[in-house]
C-alpha cells in the first residue's frame, strides 16, 4: 500500500522543446467553428453553457428580489410567471442537461478510453450547432416577450390560453433535444467500439460508466419529449383538442408523456455529476473507489429505475390512486442505487489520506447536499406527504438541493479538477477554496429556508405570499446574493489563470487515468502513441510507477 502523498506526485515540467497541443495546433475563428476535435467542441460548449447559466441566474435573481417582500410589488404576476418559466427552461435545457456531458464528457471521454476522438466527430460538431440554434430560439423568446406556462408547459393553458411565445419555446426545446440525443449516441458508440487495447469494461473509470448510463437515458427518454412537444405544437397551431378537456382530450395524458422524459431527465442531470464525484473521490483519497462494481452497476440501475417513477410528479393531477401507489413504491426503489453510491464514496474516504483541494471541497458539499436532496425526494415520493407539500417551496428546495447542491457542485468540482488538463494551467487554489465556501454557505442560506417555508404552506410560482413567510424569504434572497458571488469569482479567476496561472504538468494531482498519461493540454490526437492499458481501475501504485518510468512528455 503506497504512502505517497499528493506532494510526491511527479510534477513533470513541460519539456522545453516546442510542444503542439490542441489549443495551438491551428489558429483562427474558423479552425474553431469548423473543428471536429472533441476537445475544441467541449470548449465551445463551455462558453455557451456558461452564457446560459448567467442568463438563468439573472432570472433567478430577479425572482428573489421580488420575493423580498410579501406583496407582488416589483413585477406583475404575468411577468413573474415569465421569470420562473424562463429560469426553468434556460437552466434545465440550456445549462444542466448539456453542461457536464457536453463540456467534461466531450473533452474527457475519448481520452479516458484511449481513443483519438469520439466515434462521430462531425456529428459532435453538429450537436453544438443544433444546441446553439435551440438556444437562439430561447434568446429570441426572452427578447420578444417570454413565455409564462412554467417549464412544464401544462395543457390546456399552454395550448389554448397562454398569450406568450409557447410555440417558439417548444420549438427551441425540441431542437435542443436533438443535440442531446446526438451526444448520447456518440458516447455510447465510442464506449462500445473505441476502447484502447486492454481497456475492458471493469478497468474503465467510473466516470465512463456514469456517462454511459446517462447516454442510455438520453437516447430513450428524449425522443418521447420530442413527440410530446410535437403534439403540443400541433394542438396550439391547429387549435385542436389533443390534450384539451373541453375538446375531448386528456391533459393528464400530456403530463404522462411529458414526465416520461422529464423524470429521467433529472437523472440525465445528476448521473454526470456522480461521474465527476467518483473521479474526484478516487483522486483526492488516492484510493480505488470502494465497491467499484457496485458503483458501476448502480449507474445502470439508476438509468433503468429512473424510467419507472415519472407519475410521482402527478400524484394530485387526477391519476388513479392505484397507479399512484405503484409509482410511489417504485420511487422508493430508485433511491437505493443513489444511496449505494453515497455509501461507497464515503467508505472510500474512510481512513484515507484525504487532501482538501478545491475539487474535494465541492465533492464534500455534493455528498452532503445531494443526500439531503435525495432524502427529501423520498418524502415527496410518499403519497401522503406529497398531498400536503406538492407545488410548495418544499418541492422547489428539494430539486434545487439536487440540481444546484448536487449537479452544479459536481460541475464546479470537475471544472477545477480537470482545468489543468484542459488548459495547461493551474487555477489559484485559495481563490478556489474561498469560492467553494461561498457557494456552500450561499447555497444553504438560499435553499434551506425554502424547505421550511414550503412545509408551512408557501406555494411555488407565486410572486406574492403571506406576510409570515417574509423572514425566511429575506434569508433566502441574502443567500442568493452570496451564491452569486461564489459563482462569479471562478469565472474571474479561471479566466485569469489562462494567462497567469501556474503551468501544469502532465499529472498535477497524481491521479490514475488515461487523461493523466498525456500532456496538459493534450495533443490534438490525444496521445502521441496509442496507449495499451494493463492496469486495473484506480491502481495507484502501479499507474504512478509506470508514469515515472515511461513518461515522455
Amino acid at each position: 500500500m503506497t504512502t505517497t502523498t499528493i506532494d510526491d506526485a511527479p510534477f513533470i515540467e513541460p519539456s522545453t522543446k516546442a510542444r503542439r497541443n490542441y489549443l495551438n495546433d491551428e489558429y483562427g475563428v474558423l479552425s474553431w467553428l469548423l473543428t471536429k476535435d472533441h476537445k475544441r467542441i467541449a470548449i465551445m460548449y463551455l462558453f455557451s453553457v456558461t452564457l446560459f447559466f448567467v442568463v438563468g441566474g439573472v432570472l433567478a435573481f430577479l425572482m428573489r428580489l421580488e420575493l423580498l417582500t410579501p406583496e407582488g410589488d416589483m413585477f406583475t404576476s404575468d411577468t413573474y410567471n415569465k421569470l420562473f418559466t424562463l429560469h426553468g427552461i434556460v437552466m434545465i435545457f440550456f445549462f444542466l442537461i448539456p453542461a457536464i456531458p457536453a463540456v467534461l464528457g466531450n473533452f474527457l471521454l475519448p481520452i479516458m478510453l484511449g481513443a483519438k476522438d469520439l466515434a462521430f466527430p462531425k456529428l459532435n460538431l453538429l450537436s453544438w450547432y443544433i444546441y446553439m440554434i435551440g438556444g437562439t430560439f430561447g434568446v429570441i423568446v426572452i427578447i420578444t416577450g417570454g413565455v409564462d406556462t412554467g417549464w412544464t408547459f401544462y395543457t390546456p393553458f399552454s395550448t389554448q390560453y397562454s398569450n406568450t411565445k409557447v410555440f417558439l419555446t417548444t420549438m427551441g426545446a425540441f431542437i435542443t433535444g436533438f443535440s442531446s440525443i446526438l451526444t448520447g449516441l456518440n458516447f455510447l458508440v465510442t464506449t462500445h467500439r473505441m476502447r484502447a487495447p486492454g481497456l475492458t469494461w471493469f478497468r474503465l473509470p467510473l466516470f465512463v460508466w456514469s456517462m454511459y448510463a446517462t447516454s442510455i437515458v438520453i437516447m430513450l427518454a428524449t425522443p418521447v419529449l420530442a413527440i410530446t412537444l410535437v403534439l403540443l405544437m400541433v394542438e396550439r397551431v391547429l387549435q385542436v383538442g389533443i390534450f384539451d378537456p373541453a375538446l375531448g382530450g386528456d391533459p393528464v395524458l400530456y403530463q404522462h408523456m411529458f414526465w416520461f422524459y422529464s423524470h429521467p431527465a433529472v437523472y440525465i442531470m445528476i448521473l454526470p455529476g456522480m461521474a465527476v464525484i467518483s473521479e474526484c473521490v478516487a483522486a483526492f483519497t488516492r484510493k480505488k473507489i470502494f465497491g467499484y462494481k457496485f458503483v458501476a452497476f448502480s449507474s445502470l440501475a439508476i438509468a433503468f429505475l429512473g424510467f419507472l417513477v415519472w407519475a410521482h410528479h402527478m400524484f394530485v393531477a387526477g391519476i388513479s390512486v392505484y397507479s399512484a401507489m405503484i409509482f410511489s413504491f417504485l420511487s422508493m426503489l430508485v433511491a437505493v442505487p443513489s444511496a449505494i453510491k453515497v455509501f461507497n464514496w464515503t467508505a472510500t474516504m474512510y481512513k484515507a489520506s484525504v487532501s482538501w483541494q478545491t475539487p474535494m471541497l465541492y465533492v464534500l458539499g455534493f455528498i452532503g447536499l445531494f443526500t439531503i436532496g435525495g432524502v427529501t425526494g423520498l418524502f415527496l415520493g410518499a403519497l401522503g406527504i406529497d398531498v400536503h407539500v406538492h407545488d410548495s417551496y418544499f418541492v422547489v428546495a428539494h430539486f434545487h438541493y439536487i440540481m444546484v447542491g448536487g449537479t452544479i457542485m459536481a460541475y464546479m468540482a470537475g471544472i477545477h479538477y480537470w482545468w489543468p488538463k484542459i488548459t495547461g494551467r493551474m487555477y489559484p487554489e485559495w481563490w478556489g477554496r474561498l469560492s467553494a465556501l461561498l457557494v456552500f454557505v450561499g447555497f444553504n442560506l438560499t435553499f434551506f429556508p425554502q424547505f421550511l417555508v414550503g412545509y408551512v404552506g408557501m406555494p411555488r410560482r407565486y410572486h406574492a405570499y403571506a406576510p409570515e413567510f417574509q423572514v425566511l424569504n429575506v434569508l433566502s434572497t441574502a443567500g442568493a446574493t452570496i451564491l452569486a458571488v461564489g459563482y462569479l469569482l471562478p469565472m474571474l479567476y479561471l479566466g485569469w489563470s489562462l494567462k497567469f496561472g501556474r503551468k501544469a504538468g502532465t499529472n498535477p494531482w497524481g491521479a490514475v487515468g488515461l487523461e493523466w498519461a498525456t500532456t496538459s493540454p493534450p495533443p490534438k490526437e490525444n496521445f502521441h502513441e496509442t496507449p495499451v492499458v494493463t492496469w486495473e481501475a484506480y491502481d495507484y501504485p502501479a499507474f504512478l510507477k509506470a508514469m515515472r518510468e515511461t513518461q515522455h512528455v
Binding site: H192, P197, L220, H256, F260, L308, I326
Partner: protein, 114 residues
C-alpha cells in the same frame, strides 16, 4: 475478457481489419418479401371478420410478426452481434414500460376502493 496486447477489444465480433461480411443468399430476401405479402393479406382479411376486442390484438400480433421478419432478415439482425440484439430489444422494452405504466393509470381510473 481481459486482453493483453493487440487490437481486440472484448467483443466477439471484431474481425480485425476488414468489414464483417455476411452475404445472405438472394433467395432469402424474396422469401421474406413473400412472407410479408401473405401477412399483409392476412391482416386485411382478418380485419373484415368481427372478432370484437380480439381484432386489435390479432392485428397487432400480425404486425409484430411482420416487424420481426423485417428486423431479423432485412435488417440482418439475425446475423448481427449480440449488442445489436440488446439495443433492439431494450428499445421495445422501454416502450413497453411507457405503455404498461401509462395504462396502469387509465385502466384503473374508474375502479372503486371498497
Amino acid at each position: 475478457m481481459a486482453q493483453e496486447h493487440g487490437h481486440q477489444p472484448d467483443h466477439e465480433t471484431y474481425h480485425g481489419h476488414a468489414a464483417p461480411h455476411h452475404q445472405a443468399p438472394l433467395t432469402a430476401y424474396f422469401l421474406v418479401f413473400g412472407a410479408l405479402m401473405v401477412l399483409t393479406v392476412l391482416t386485411v382479411w382478418v380485419s373484415r371478420i368481427d372478432l370484437g376486442a380480439l381484432n386489435t390484438a390479432v392485428a397487432m400480433a400480425i404486425a409484430v410478426v411482420k416487424a420481426l421478419v423485417v428486423i431479423l432478415w432485412f435488417m440482418h439482425v439475425i446475423h448481427s452481434p449480440r449488442l445489436t440484439w440488446i439495443v433492439v430489444i431494450s428499445s421495445f422494452l422501454w416502450l413497453a414500460v411507457l405503455f404498461v405504466l401509462t395504462f396502469s393509470d387509465y385502466l384503473t381510473r374508474h375502479w372503486k376502493m371498497s
